[in-house]
Protein backbone atom coordinates (compact mmCIF):
# COMPACT_ATOMS: atom_id res chain seq x y z
CA UNK A 1 0.00 0.00 0.00
CA UNK A 2 2.90 2.34 0.80
CA UNK A 3 4.40 1.64 -2.62
CA UNK A 4 1.08 2.34 -4.31
CA UNK A 5 0.72 5.63 -2.41
CA UNK A 6 4.23 6.62 -3.43
CA UNK A 7 3.40 5.74 -7.04
CA UNK A 8 0.19 7.78 -6.97
CA UNK A 9 2.05 10.72 -5.41
CA UNK A 10 4.67 10.49 -8.18
CA UNK A 11 1.97 10.47 -10.85
CA UNK A 12 0.21 13.43 -9.24
CA UNK A 13 3.50 15.35 -9.09
CA UNK A 14 4.25 14.56 -12.75
CA UNK A 15 0.76 15.68 -13.79
CA UNK A 16 1.09 18.90 -11.76
CA UNK A 17 4.52 19.67 -13.25
CA UNK A 18 3.17 18.98 -16.75
CA UNK A 19 0.19 21.26 -16.26
CA UNK A 20 2.14 24.06 -14.54
CA UNK A 21 5.33 23.82 -16.63
CA UNK A 22 5.14 27.39 -18.01
CA UNK A 23 4.71 28.71 -14.45
CA UNK A 24 7.53 26.56 -13.10
CA UNK A 25 10.12 27.25 -15.80
CA UNK A 26 10.13 30.29 -18.08
CA UNK A 27 11.77 33.64 -18.61
CA UNK A 28 8.62 35.70 -18.08
CA UNK A 29 7.51 36.75 -14.59
CA UNK A 30 4.40 35.31 -13.02
CA UNK A 31 3.61 38.78 -11.72
CA UNK A 32 5.24 42.09 -12.71
CA UNK A 33 4.97 45.59 -11.32
CA UNK A 34 6.62 48.04 -13.68
CA UNK A 35 6.16 51.81 -13.82
CA UNK A 36 3.24 51.53 -11.40
CA UNK A 37 1.29 48.99 -13.52
CA UNK A 38 0.66 45.43 -12.38
CA UNK A 39 0.61 42.70 -15.06
CA UNK A 40 0.92 38.93 -15.50
CA UNK A 41 3.36 38.46 -18.41
CA UNK A 42 3.10 34.67 -18.21
CA UNK A 43 -0.62 34.92 -19.01
CA UNK A 44 -0.35 37.83 -21.45
CA UNK A 45 2.11 35.88 -23.62
CA UNK A 46 5.04 37.21 -25.64
CA UNK A 47 5.34 40.93 -26.01
CA UNK A 48 8.15 43.01 -24.68
CA UNK A 49 11.41 41.69 -23.33
CA UNK A 50 11.72 38.81 -20.88
CA UNK A 51 14.57 37.26 -18.94
CA UNK A 52 17.75 39.28 -18.50
CA UNK A 53 16.66 42.30 -20.63
CA UNK A 54 13.56 42.66 -18.47
CA UNK A 55 15.60 42.35 -15.28
CA UNK A 56 17.94 45.07 -16.51
CA UNK A 57 15.01 47.34 -17.33
CA UNK A 58 13.38 47.14 -13.88
CA UNK A 59 13.47 50.44 -11.97
CA UNK A 60 14.00 50.87 -8.22
CA UNK A 61 10.25 50.74 -7.48
CA UNK A 62 9.56 47.87 -9.88
CA UNK A 63 9.47 44.22 -8.89
CA UNK A 64 8.81 40.85 -10.51
CA UNK A 65 7.80 37.43 -9.23
CA UNK A 66 9.70 34.93 -11.34
CA UNK A 67 9.04 31.21 -11.92
CA UNK A 68 11.23 28.97 -9.71
CA UNK A 69 13.38 28.19 -12.77
CA UNK A 70 13.60 31.57 -14.47
CA UNK A 71 14.82 30.36 -17.86
CA UNK A 72 13.10 29.75 -21.18
CA UNK A 73 13.58 26.05 -22.09
CA UNK A 74 14.10 26.93 -25.76
CA UNK A 75 16.36 30.00 -25.38
CA UNK A 76 19.59 29.17 -27.19
CA UNK A 77 22.81 30.77 -25.90
CA UNK A 78 25.95 29.89 -27.79
CA UNK A 79 28.04 32.82 -26.57
CA UNK A 80 28.13 35.46 -23.89
CA UNK A 81 28.03 34.89 -20.16
CA UNK A 82 26.49 31.43 -20.29
CA UNK A 83 28.64 28.75 -21.87
CA UNK A 84 27.11 25.69 -23.50
CA UNK A 85 27.50 22.51 -21.46
CA UNK A 86 28.06 24.49 -18.26
CA UNK A 87 27.88 22.35 -15.11
CA UNK A 88 25.27 23.05 -12.43
CA UNK A 89 25.57 26.42 -10.75
CA UNK A 90 23.48 28.79 -8.68
CA UNK A 91 22.16 30.33 -11.91
CA UNK A 92 21.52 27.04 -13.72
CA UNK A 93 20.63 24.42 -11.11
CA UNK A 94 21.12 21.50 -13.51
CA UNK A 95 23.60 23.18 -15.84
CA UNK A 96 23.10 23.88 -19.54
CA UNK A 97 22.95 21.71 -22.62
CA UNK A 98 25.08 21.94 -25.77
CA UNK A 99 23.13 24.98 -26.98
CA UNK A 100 23.30 26.79 -23.66
CA UNK A 101 19.69 25.98 -22.78
CA UNK A 102 18.81 25.52 -19.12
CA UNK A 103 18.57 21.78 -18.37
CA UNK A 104 16.21 22.23 -15.39
CA UNK A 105 13.79 24.18 -17.59
CA UNK A 106 13.99 21.55 -20.33
CA UNK A 107 13.51 18.78 -17.76
CA UNK A 108 10.34 20.46 -16.46
CA UNK A 109 8.94 21.08 -19.95
CA UNK A 110 10.04 17.55 -20.94
CA UNK A 111 7.67 16.29 -18.24
CA UNK A 112 4.86 17.91 -20.17
CA UNK A 113 5.94 16.11 -23.37
CA UNK A 114 6.19 12.71 -21.71
CA UNK A 115 2.96 13.04 -19.73
CA UNK A 116 1.03 14.31 -22.76
CA UNK A 117 2.25 11.50 -25.01
CA UNK A 118 1.63 8.87 -22.31
CA UNK A 119 -1.87 10.14 -21.55
CA UNK A 120 -2.84 10.45 -25.20
CA UNK A 121 -1.44 7.03 -26.10
CA UNK A 122 -3.23 5.43 -23.13
CA UNK A 123 -6.53 7.12 -24.02
CA UNK A 124 -6.30 6.16 -27.70
CA UNK A 125 -5.25 2.58 -26.95
CA UNK A 126 -8.05 2.19 -24.40
CA UNK A 127 -10.70 3.51 -26.80
CA UNK A 128 -9.48 1.27 -29.64
CA UNK A 129 -9.26 -1.74 -27.30
CA UNK A 130 -12.84 -1.27 -26.11
CA UNK A 131 -14.12 -0.95 -29.69
CA UNK A 132 -12.22 -4.03 -30.88
CA UNK A 133 -13.25 -6.13 -27.87
CA UNK A 134 -16.91 -5.14 -28.18
CA UNK A 135 -16.82 -5.91 -31.91
CA UNK A 136 -15.22 -9.31 -31.34
CA UNK A 137 -17.52 -10.38 -28.52
CA UNK A 138 -20.72 -9.01 -30.08
CA UNK A 139 -20.11 -10.40 -33.59
CA UNK A 140 -18.46 -13.68 -32.54
CA UNK A 141 -17.58 -16.39 -35.06
CA UNK A 142 -15.33 -15.39 -37.93
CA UNK A 143 -15.17 -11.72 -36.88
CA UNK A 144 -14.03 -12.73 -33.39
CA UNK A 145 -11.38 -15.03 -34.85
CA UNK A 146 -10.20 -12.32 -37.26
CA UNK A 147 -9.96 -9.69 -34.50
CA UNK A 148 -8.11 -12.14 -32.25
CA UNK A 149 -5.62 -13.14 -34.94
CA UNK A 150 -5.03 -9.54 -36.00
CA UNK A 151 -4.53 -8.46 -32.40
CA UNK A 152 -2.07 -11.31 -31.80
CA UNK A 153 -0.01 -10.16 -34.79
CA UNK A 154 -0.18 -6.41 -34.15
CA UNK A 155 0.52 -6.76 -30.41
CA UNK A 156 3.85 -8.41 -31.22
CA UNK A 157 5.06 -5.33 -33.11
CA UNK A 158 8.05 -3.70 -31.37
CA UNK A 159 6.96 -0.11 -30.53
CA UNK A 160 10.20 1.76 -31.28
CA UNK A 161 10.97 -0.01 -34.55
CA UNK A 162 7.31 0.27 -35.63
CA UNK A 163 7.35 4.05 -35.14
CA UNK A 164 10.67 4.44 -36.99
CA UNK A 165 9.56 2.27 -39.93
CA UNK A 166 6.09 3.78 -40.17
CA UNK A 167 7.47 7.33 -40.16
CA UNK A 168 9.74 6.43 -43.06
CA UNK A 169 7.06 4.52 -44.96
CA UNK A 170 4.30 7.09 -44.52
CA UNK A 171 6.61 10.06 -44.83
CA UNK A 172 5.01 11.70 -41.80
CA UNK A 173 6.56 12.84 -38.54
CA UNK A 174 5.24 14.64 -35.52
CA UNK A 175 3.85 13.99 -32.08
CA UNK A 176 0.45 12.78 -33.34
CA UNK A 177 2.07 10.07 -35.46
CA UNK A 178 4.24 8.99 -32.52
CA UNK A 179 1.20 8.73 -30.23
CA UNK A 180 -0.83 6.75 -32.77
CA UNK A 181 2.01 4.38 -33.59
CA UNK A 182 2.72 3.67 -29.91
CA UNK A 183 -0.99 3.24 -29.13
CA UNK A 184 -1.94 0.80 -31.91
CA UNK A 185 0.15 -2.23 -30.80
CA UNK A 186 -0.83 -1.58 -27.20
CA UNK A 187 -4.51 -1.35 -28.22
CA UNK A 188 -4.24 -4.77 -29.81
CA UNK A 189 -2.73 -6.23 -26.64
CA UNK A 190 -5.34 -4.56 -24.42
CA UNK A 191 -8.18 -5.70 -26.69
CA UNK A 192 -7.18 -9.32 -26.11
CA UNK A 193 -7.43 -8.86 -22.33
CA UNK A 194 -10.73 -6.97 -22.48
CA UNK A 195 -12.22 -9.52 -24.87
CA UNK A 196 -11.29 -12.38 -22.52
CA UNK A 197 -12.76 -10.47 -19.56
CA UNK A 198 -15.99 -9.67 -21.40
CA UNK A 199 -16.44 -13.30 -22.43
CA UNK A 200 -15.98 -14.40 -18.81
CA UNK A 201 -18.49 -11.81 -17.56
CA UNK A 202 -21.09 -12.72 -20.18
CA UNK A 203 -21.02 -16.33 -18.98
CA UNK A 204 -21.99 -15.38 -15.41
CA UNK A 205 -25.45 -15.94 -13.87
CA UNK A 206 -26.13 -12.21 -13.46
CA UNK A 207 -25.80 -11.72 -17.22
CA UNK A 208 -28.16 -14.68 -17.73
CA UNK A 209 -30.55 -12.95 -15.33
CA UNK A 210 -30.29 -9.70 -17.30
CA UNK A 211 -31.05 -11.53 -20.54
CA UNK A 212 -34.02 -13.30 -18.88
CA UNK A 213 -35.28 -9.89 -17.77
CA UNK A 214 -35.37 -8.82 -21.41
CA UNK A 215 -32.09 -6.95 -21.84
CA UNK A 216 -30.77 -6.94 -25.40
CA UNK A 217 -27.36 -8.53 -26.11
CA UNK A 218 -25.88 -5.07 -26.75
CA UNK A 219 -27.24 -3.76 -23.44
CA UNK A 220 -25.90 -6.77 -21.52
CA UNK A 221 -22.52 -6.23 -23.14
CA UNK A 222 -22.29 -2.50 -22.49
CA UNK A 223 -24.28 -2.12 -19.27
CA UNK A 224 -23.16 -5.29 -17.47
CA UNK A 225 -20.02 -6.41 -19.27
CA UNK A 226 -17.98 -3.23 -19.70
CA UNK A 227 -18.05 -2.09 -16.04
CA UNK A 228 -16.51 -5.41 -15.02
CA UNK A 229 -13.82 -4.97 -17.65
CA UNK A 230 -12.88 -1.53 -16.27
CA UNK A 231 -10.16 -2.81 -13.88
CA UNK A 232 -8.55 -4.72 -16.75
CA UNK A 233 -8.74 -1.59 -18.89
CA UNK A 234 -7.19 0.53 -16.14
CA UNK A 235 -4.27 -1.89 -15.78
CA UNK A 236 -3.78 -2.01 -19.54
CA UNK A 237 -3.91 1.80 -19.74
CA UNK A 238 -1.22 2.12 -17.06
CA UNK A 239 1.02 -0.34 -18.91
CA UNK A 240 0.38 1.56 -22.16
CA UNK A 241 1.34 4.84 -20.51
CA UNK A 242 4.54 3.29 -19.13
CA UNK A 243 5.34 1.85 -22.56
CA UNK A 244 4.75 5.28 -24.11
CA UNK A 245 7.09 7.03 -21.64
CA UNK A 246 9.87 4.53 -22.39
CA UNK A 247 9.19 4.58 -26.14
CA UNK A 248 9.13 8.38 -26.27
CA UNK A 249 12.47 8.52 -24.49
CA UNK A 250 13.92 5.93 -26.88
CA UNK A 251 12.55 7.65 -29.97
CA UNK A 252 13.76 11.08 -28.89
CA UNK A 253 17.15 9.56 -28.14
CA UNK A 254 17.25 8.24 -31.70
CA UNK A 255 16.16 11.63 -33.04
CA UNK A 256 12.80 10.43 -34.36
CA UNK A 257 10.54 11.55 -31.52
CA UNK A 258 8.86 14.90 -31.02
CA UNK A 259 10.33 17.40 -33.51
CA UNK A 260 12.80 20.08 -32.27
CA UNK A 261 12.83 22.30 -30.31
CA UNK A 262 10.31 20.34 -28.20
CA UNK A 263 11.83 19.66 -24.79
CA UNK A 264 12.05 15.95 -24.09
CA UNK A 265 13.74 13.67 -21.57
CA UNK A 266 14.96 11.43 -24.39
CA UNK A 267 16.53 14.42 -26.14
CA UNK A 268 18.51 15.20 -22.96
CA UNK A 269 19.71 11.58 -22.91
CA UNK A 270 20.73 11.91 -26.57
CA UNK A 271 22.68 15.08 -25.71
CA UNK A 272 24.42 13.21 -22.89
CA UNK A 273 25.57 10.49 -25.30
CA UNK A 274 26.72 13.10 -27.82
CA UNK A 275 28.62 15.09 -25.17
CA UNK A 276 30.83 12.64 -23.27
CA UNK A 277 28.04 11.55 -20.92
CA UNK A 278 27.87 14.84 -18.97
CA UNK A 279 26.18 13.69 -15.78
CA UNK A 280 23.88 16.71 -15.48
CA UNK A 281 22.35 15.80 -18.82
CA UNK A 282 22.02 12.03 -18.23
CA UNK A 283 21.20 11.55 -14.56
CA UNK A 284 18.15 13.85 -14.06
CA UNK A 285 16.50 12.83 -17.34
CA UNK A 286 17.10 9.11 -16.80
CA UNK A 287 15.87 9.32 -13.21
CA UNK A 288 12.74 11.17 -14.36
CA UNK A 289 11.89 8.48 -16.96
CA UNK A 290 12.55 5.74 -14.41
CA UNK A 291 10.42 7.38 -11.69
CA UNK A 292 7.42 7.99 -13.95
CA UNK A 293 7.60 4.51 -15.52
CA UNK A 294 8.02 2.82 -12.13
CA UNK A 295 5.00 4.71 -10.78
CA UNK A 296 2.85 3.69 -13.75
CA UNK A 297 3.93 0.05 -13.49
CA UNK A 298 3.26 0.07 -9.73
CA UNK A 299 -0.27 1.32 -10.40
CA UNK A 300 -0.69 -1.40 -13.05
CA UNK A 301 0.44 -4.04 -10.53
CA UNK A 302 -2.01 -3.00 -7.82
CA UNK A 303 -4.25 -5.80 -6.49
CA UNK A 304 -6.75 -6.57 -9.22
CA UNK A 305 -10.38 -7.70 -9.15
CA UNK A 306 -11.29 -11.23 -8.19
CA UNK A 307 -12.18 -13.87 -10.74
CA UNK A 308 -15.62 -13.64 -12.27
Amino acid sequence: VTGLRLALATLAAAAAIALLAPALAGDRPLLLRQRGALSMPIVDGPGGPGGDPLRAGLGPDDWALWPPVAHDPDAVRTDGAVAPLAPPSARHWLGTDDRGRDVAARLIHGTRTSVAIAAAAAALATALAVLLALLAVRAGGAVDAAVRTTCDAVAAAPPILTVIAAQGLLGSRGVAAVIALIAIPRAADSARLVRARLRAVLATPFCDAARAAGATPARVLVRHGLPHAAPVLATAAAVTAATAVLAEAGLAFLGVGAPPPTASWGELLAQATANDLRWWLALPAGAAVTALTAALLAVARRPGPGAI
Binding site: I160, A249, A282, L297
Partner: protein, 307 residues
Protein backbone atom coordinates in the same frame (compact mmCIF):
# COMPACT_ATOMS: atom_id res chain seq x y z
CA UNK B 1 8.62 -32.70 -30.44
CA UNK B 2 7.65 -33.73 -33.95
CA UNK B 3 9.19 -32.64 -37.22
CA UNK B 4 5.70 -31.58 -38.26
CA UNK B 5 5.52 -29.07 -35.41
CA UNK B 6 8.90 -27.60 -36.33
CA UNK B 7 7.85 -27.38 -39.98
CA UNK B 8 4.63 -25.62 -38.98
CA UNK B 9 6.53 -23.08 -36.91
CA UNK B 10 8.97 -22.58 -39.80
CA UNK B 11 6.08 -21.93 -42.14
CA UNK B 12 4.71 -19.39 -39.65
CA UNK B 13 8.05 -17.56 -39.77
CA UNK B 14 7.87 -17.38 -43.56
CA UNK B 15 4.26 -16.19 -43.53
CA UNK B 16 5.03 -13.52 -40.90
CA UNK B 17 7.99 -12.21 -42.92
CA UNK B 18 6.06 -12.03 -46.19
CA UNK B 19 3.01 -10.45 -44.50
CA UNK B 20 5.16 -7.78 -42.82
CA UNK B 21 6.99 -7.08 -46.11
CA UNK B 22 3.74 -6.60 -48.03
CA UNK B 23 2.19 -4.58 -45.19
CA UNK B 24 5.18 -2.23 -45.30
CA UNK B 25 4.80 -1.73 -49.06
CA UNK B 26 1.06 -1.19 -48.61
CA UNK B 27 1.69 1.43 -45.90
CA UNK B 28 4.13 3.20 -48.20
CA UNK B 29 1.33 3.60 -50.73
CA UNK B 30 -0.57 5.71 -48.17
CA UNK B 31 2.12 8.41 -48.27
CA UNK B 32 0.98 11.62 -49.96
CA UNK B 33 3.83 11.75 -52.52
CA UNK B 34 3.95 9.25 -55.44
CA UNK B 35 6.38 6.35 -55.02
CA UNK B 36 8.63 7.39 -57.92
CA UNK B 37 8.96 10.92 -56.57
CA UNK B 38 9.85 9.56 -53.13
CA UNK B 39 12.44 7.25 -54.68
CA UNK B 40 14.03 10.16 -56.54
CA UNK B 41 14.01 12.22 -53.38
CA UNK B 42 15.58 9.34 -51.35
CA UNK B 43 18.36 9.14 -53.93
CA UNK B 44 19.05 12.81 -53.35
CA UNK B 45 18.69 13.72 -57.03
CA UNK B 46 15.51 15.72 -56.53
CA UNK B 47 15.63 19.16 -54.91
CA UNK B 48 13.81 19.20 -51.58
CA UNK B 49 11.48 21.96 -52.67
CA UNK B 50 9.68 22.47 -55.94
CA UNK B 51 12.65 24.40 -57.21
CA UNK B 52 14.13 23.75 -60.63
CA UNK B 53 12.71 23.05 -64.03
CA UNK B 54 9.50 21.05 -64.19
CA UNK B 55 10.82 19.09 -67.15
CA UNK B 56 14.02 18.19 -65.31
CA UNK B 57 12.04 17.10 -62.26
CA UNK B 58 9.74 14.96 -64.40
CA UNK B 59 12.74 13.35 -66.07
CA UNK B 60 14.39 12.56 -62.75
CA UNK B 61 11.18 11.06 -61.40
CA UNK B 62 10.68 9.01 -64.59
CA UNK B 63 14.24 7.72 -64.30
CA UNK B 64 13.64 6.62 -60.68
CA UNK B 65 10.36 5.01 -61.74
CA UNK B 66 12.07 2.97 -64.43
CA UNK B 67 15.10 2.10 -62.30
CA UNK B 68 13.10 0.79 -59.34
CA UNK B 69 10.12 -0.61 -61.29
CA UNK B 70 7.62 1.76 -59.68
CA UNK B 71 5.29 2.22 -62.65
CA UNK B 72 1.56 1.47 -62.64
CA UNK B 73 -0.80 1.80 -59.70
CA UNK B 74 -0.46 0.84 -56.05
CA UNK B 75 -1.78 -2.68 -56.71
CA UNK B 76 0.85 -3.23 -59.42
CA UNK B 77 3.66 -2.08 -57.13
CA UNK B 78 2.47 -4.26 -54.24
CA UNK B 79 2.08 -7.18 -56.66
CA UNK B 80 5.66 -6.73 -57.84
CA UNK B 81 6.78 -6.63 -54.19
CA UNK B 82 4.93 -9.91 -53.61
CA UNK B 83 6.70 -11.51 -56.57
CA UNK B 84 10.05 -10.31 -55.22
CA UNK B 85 9.16 -11.73 -51.80
CA UNK B 86 8.48 -15.13 -53.36
CA UNK B 87 11.90 -14.98 -55.06
CA UNK B 88 13.45 -13.89 -51.71
CA UNK B 89 14.67 -10.75 -53.46
CA UNK B 90 14.40 -7.57 -51.35
CA UNK B 91 15.17 -5.32 -54.32
CA UNK B 92 17.46 -2.30 -54.41
CA UNK B 93 17.84 0.58 -51.98
CA UNK B 94 16.28 3.81 -53.21
CA UNK B 95 19.20 5.76 -51.80
CA UNK B 96 22.04 4.33 -53.88
CA UNK B 97 20.62 1.42 -55.85
CA UNK B 98 22.66 -1.12 -53.85
CA UNK B 99 20.98 -4.47 -53.21
CA UNK B 100 19.01 -4.31 -49.96
CA UNK B 101 20.45 -7.66 -48.93
CA UNK B 102 23.96 -6.16 -49.11
CA UNK B 103 22.90 -3.46 -46.65
CA UNK B 104 20.85 -5.75 -44.44
CA UNK B 105 23.36 -8.59 -44.08
CA UNK B 106 26.18 -6.75 -42.27
CA UNK B 107 23.70 -4.79 -40.12
CA UNK B 108 21.93 -8.01 -39.16
CA UNK B 109 25.26 -9.60 -38.22
CA UNK B 110 26.18 -6.63 -36.00
CA UNK B 111 22.78 -6.68 -34.28
CA UNK B 112 22.84 -10.46 -33.85
CA UNK B 113 26.21 -10.13 -32.11
CA UNK B 114 24.46 -8.07 -29.43
CA UNK B 115 20.90 -9.43 -29.41
CA UNK B 116 21.90 -13.13 -29.52
CA UNK B 117 24.02 -13.06 -26.36
CA UNK B 118 21.38 -10.78 -24.80
CA UNK B 119 18.70 -13.42 -25.36
CA UNK B 120 20.85 -16.17 -23.86
CA UNK B 121 21.78 -13.93 -20.94
CA UNK B 122 18.15 -12.91 -20.32
CA UNK B 123 16.94 -16.51 -20.28
CA UNK B 124 19.79 -17.76 -18.08
CA UNK B 125 19.66 -14.87 -15.61
CA UNK B 126 15.86 -14.75 -15.58
CA UNK B 127 15.50 -18.49 -15.01
CA UNK B 128 18.18 -18.52 -12.30
CA UNK B 129 16.88 -15.49 -10.43
CA UNK B 130 13.26 -16.63 -10.79
CA UNK B 131 13.97 -20.12 -9.45
CA UNK B 132 15.99 -18.73 -6.53
CA UNK B 133 13.33 -16.10 -5.84
CA UNK B 134 10.43 -18.56 -6.16
CA UNK B 135 12.12 -21.06 -3.88
CA UNK B 136 13.14 -18.32 -1.43
CA UNK B 137 9.67 -16.77 -1.46
CA UNK B 138 8.31 -19.95 0.09
CA UNK B 139 10.71 -19.39 2.96
CA UNK B 140 10.21 -15.62 3.04
CA UNK B 141 13.68 -15.06 1.53
CA UNK B 142 14.69 -13.55 -1.80
CA UNK B 143 11.14 -13.03 -3.14
CA UNK B 144 10.49 -9.39 -2.14
CA UNK B 145 14.03 -8.30 -3.05
CA UNK B 146 13.69 -9.88 -6.47
CA UNK B 147 10.31 -8.21 -6.96
CA UNK B 148 11.82 -4.81 -6.18
CA UNK B 149 14.80 -5.41 -8.48
CA UNK B 150 12.45 -6.55 -11.24
CA UNK B 151 10.30 -3.42 -10.92
CA UNK B 152 13.39 -1.20 -11.14
CA UNK B 153 14.82 -3.08 -14.13
CA UNK B 154 11.54 -2.72 -16.03
CA UNK B 155 11.26 0.99 -15.32
CA UNK B 156 14.78 2.04 -16.32
CA UNK B 157 15.04 3.12 -19.98
CA UNK B 158 17.62 0.98 -21.84
CA UNK B 159 19.47 4.08 -23.05
CA UNK B 160 19.99 5.28 -19.47
CA UNK B 161 21.18 1.85 -18.33
CA UNK B 162 23.58 1.91 -21.29
CA UNK B 163 24.88 5.33 -20.27
CA UNK B 164 25.39 4.20 -16.67
CA UNK B 165 27.25 1.10 -17.87
CA UNK B 166 29.39 3.09 -20.32
CA UNK B 167 30.06 5.66 -17.61
CA UNK B 168 31.23 2.78 -15.42
CA UNK B 169 33.85 1.87 -18.00
CA UNK B 170 32.23 -1.08 -19.84
CA UNK B 171 31.94 -0.45 -23.56
CA UNK B 172 32.00 -3.75 -25.47
CA UNK B 173 29.48 -5.99 -27.20
CA UNK B 174 29.00 -8.02 -24.03
CA UNK B 175 28.16 -4.88 -22.04
CA UNK B 176 25.62 -3.92 -24.72
CA UNK B 177 24.15 -7.43 -24.52
CA UNK B 178 23.91 -7.19 -20.73
CA UNK B 179 22.06 -3.86 -20.99
CA UNK B 180 19.70 -5.31 -23.58
CA UNK B 181 19.09 -8.40 -21.44
CA UNK B 182 18.16 -6.50 -18.28
CA UNK B 183 14.43 -5.91 -18.86
CA UNK B 184 13.66 -9.33 -20.46
CA UNK B 185 15.57 -11.02 -17.63
CA UNK B 186 13.45 -9.11 -15.12
CA UNK B 187 10.21 -10.17 -16.84
CA UNK B 188 11.34 -13.79 -17.05
CA UNK B 189 12.48 -13.75 -13.42
CA UNK B 190 9.15 -12.39 -12.19
CA UNK B 191 7.24 -14.94 -14.27
CA UNK B 192 9.41 -17.88 -13.19
CA UNK B 193 9.32 -16.75 -9.57
CA UNK B 194 5.51 -16.89 -9.56
CA UNK B 195 5.49 -20.22 -11.42
CA UNK B 196 8.05 -21.74 -9.07
CA UNK B 197 6.24 -20.56 -5.93
CA UNK B 198 3.01 -21.99 -7.30
CA UNK B 199 4.65 -25.27 -8.22
CA UNK B 200 6.29 -25.72 -4.80
CA UNK B 201 2.93 -25.14 -3.11
CA UNK B 202 1.14 -27.61 -5.39
CA UNK B 203 0.09 -31.19 -4.72
CA UNK B 204 2.43 -32.29 -7.51
CA UNK B 205 5.44 -31.01 -5.54
CA UNK B 206 4.19 -32.77 -2.40
CA UNK B 207 3.87 -36.01 -4.34
CA UNK B 208 7.40 -35.67 -5.78
CA UNK B 209 8.78 -35.03 -2.29
CA UNK B 210 6.87 -38.04 -0.94
CA UNK B 211 8.66 -40.19 -3.53
CA UNK B 212 12.00 -39.21 -2.04
CA UNK B 213 13.13 -36.25 -4.14
CA UNK B 214 15.43 -33.83 -2.31
CA UNK B 215 14.36 -30.16 -2.01
CA UNK B 216 17.21 -29.21 -4.34
CA UNK B 217 16.13 -31.72 -7.00
CA UNK B 218 12.52 -30.60 -6.61
CA UNK B 219 13.41 -26.96 -7.13
CA UNK B 220 16.13 -27.20 -9.77
CA UNK B 221 15.13 -30.26 -11.79
CA UNK B 222 11.34 -30.42 -11.73
CA UNK B 223 10.94 -26.69 -11.15
CA UNK B 224 13.30 -25.83 -14.01
CA UNK B 225 11.38 -27.98 -16.50
CA UNK B 226 8.09 -26.35 -15.61
CA UNK B 227 9.70 -22.91 -15.59
CA UNK B 228 10.98 -23.42 -19.15
CA UNK B 229 7.54 -24.58 -20.22
CA UNK B 230 5.93 -21.52 -18.62
CA UNK B 231 8.09 -19.12 -20.66
CA UNK B 232 6.34 -19.74 -23.99
CA UNK B 233 3.70 -16.99 -23.52
CA UNK B 234 6.49 -14.46 -22.92
CA UNK B 235 8.33 -15.26 -26.13
CA UNK B 236 6.52 -12.82 -28.44
CA UNK B 237 6.81 -9.82 -26.12
CA UNK B 238 10.44 -10.65 -25.25
CA UNK B 239 11.36 -10.99 -28.92
CA UNK B 240 9.57 -7.73 -29.77
CA UNK B 241 11.40 -5.94 -26.97
CA UNK B 242 14.78 -7.27 -28.08
CA UNK B 243 14.19 -6.27 -31.69
CA UNK B 244 13.07 -2.74 -30.74
CA UNK B 245 15.49 -2.02 -27.90
CA UNK B 246 18.47 -3.23 -29.94
CA UNK B 247 18.16 -0.04 -32.01
CA UNK B 248 18.46 2.16 -28.92
CA UNK B 249 21.23 0.17 -27.21
CA UNK B 250 23.28 0.03 -30.42
CA UNK B 251 23.08 3.80 -30.76
CA UNK B 252 24.00 4.32 -27.10
CA UNK B 253 27.08 2.14 -27.51
CA UNK B 254 27.92 3.69 -30.89
CA UNK B 255 27.67 0.34 -32.66
CA UNK B 256 26.40 -0.21 -36.21
CA UNK B 257 23.43 -2.50 -36.76
CA UNK B 258 19.76 -2.70 -37.68
CA UNK B 259 18.94 0.30 -35.47
CA UNK B 260 21.19 2.70 -37.34
CA UNK B 261 20.05 1.21 -40.66
CA UNK B 262 16.39 1.73 -39.70
CA UNK B 263 16.87 5.34 -38.57
CA UNK B 264 18.89 6.22 -41.68
CA UNK B 265 16.40 4.49 -43.99
CA UNK B 266 13.44 6.21 -42.29
CA UNK B 267 15.11 9.61 -42.57
CA UNK B 268 15.67 9.07 -46.30
CA UNK B 269 12.28 7.42 -46.90
CA UNK B 270 14.04 4.33 -48.28
CA UNK B 271 11.00 2.04 -48.58
CA UNK B 272 12.76 -1.13 -49.86
CA UNK B 273 15.13 -1.14 -46.87
CA UNK B 274 12.32 -0.41 -44.40
CA UNK B 275 10.14 -3.16 -45.89
CA UNK B 276 13.00 -5.64 -45.65
CA UNK B 277 13.62 -4.56 -42.05
CA UNK B 278 9.94 -5.14 -41.24
CA UNK B 279 10.20 -8.63 -42.75
CA UNK B 280 13.34 -9.43 -40.75
CA UNK B 281 11.79 -8.14 -37.52
CA UNK B 282 8.61 -10.18 -38.07
CA UNK B 283 10.64 -13.27 -38.94
CA UNK B 284 12.81 -12.94 -35.82
CA UNK B 285 9.79 -12.47 -33.56
CA UNK B 286 7.94 -15.40 -35.15
CA UNK B 287 11.07 -17.58 -35.00
CA UNK B 288 11.69 -16.87 -31.31
CA UNK B 289 8.01 -17.43 -30.51
CA UNK B 290 8.06 -20.73 -32.39
CA UNK B 291 11.30 -21.81 -30.73
CA UNK B 292 9.86 -21.05 -27.30
CA UNK B 293 6.78 -23.10 -28.14
CA UNK B 294 8.91 -26.05 -29.28
CA UNK B 295 11.10 -25.78 -26.15
CA UNK B 296 8.03 -25.64 -23.91
CA UNK B 297 6.60 -28.80 -25.48
CA UNK B 298 9.93 -30.56 -25.10
CA UNK B 299 10.16 -29.55 -21.42
CA UNK B 300 6.57 -30.33 -20.46
CA UNK B 301 5.14 -33.45 -22.13
CA UNK B 302 1.61 -32.39 -21.13
CA UNK B 303 1.81 -29.61 -23.73
CA UNK B 304 2.61 -32.08 -26.50
CA UNK B 305 -1.07 -32.88 -26.89
CA UNK B 306 -2.03 -29.23 -27.29
CA UNK B 307 -2.79 -28.06 -30.85
Amino acid sequence: VSARLIAARGLAVLIAAVAAYLLAWSLAELAPAPAAERAARAAGVLPPDDAGSTAVRAALIARAEARFELGGGAAARIGRAALRAIRLDAGASWRDGAPVAARLGPALAHSAAVAGPALVLAIAAGLGAGLVGGTGARRGGAGPALAAATALALAMPPVWVAQLVIGGGADGALAAAAVLALAPAAVIAAHVQAAQAGFLASAVATAIRARGASPRRLAWHHGLRLAIASLAPLAASTAAYLVGATAVVERAFGRPGLGRLAVDAAAAGDVPVLAALAAVAAAVIAALTGAADVAARAADPRLAEAP
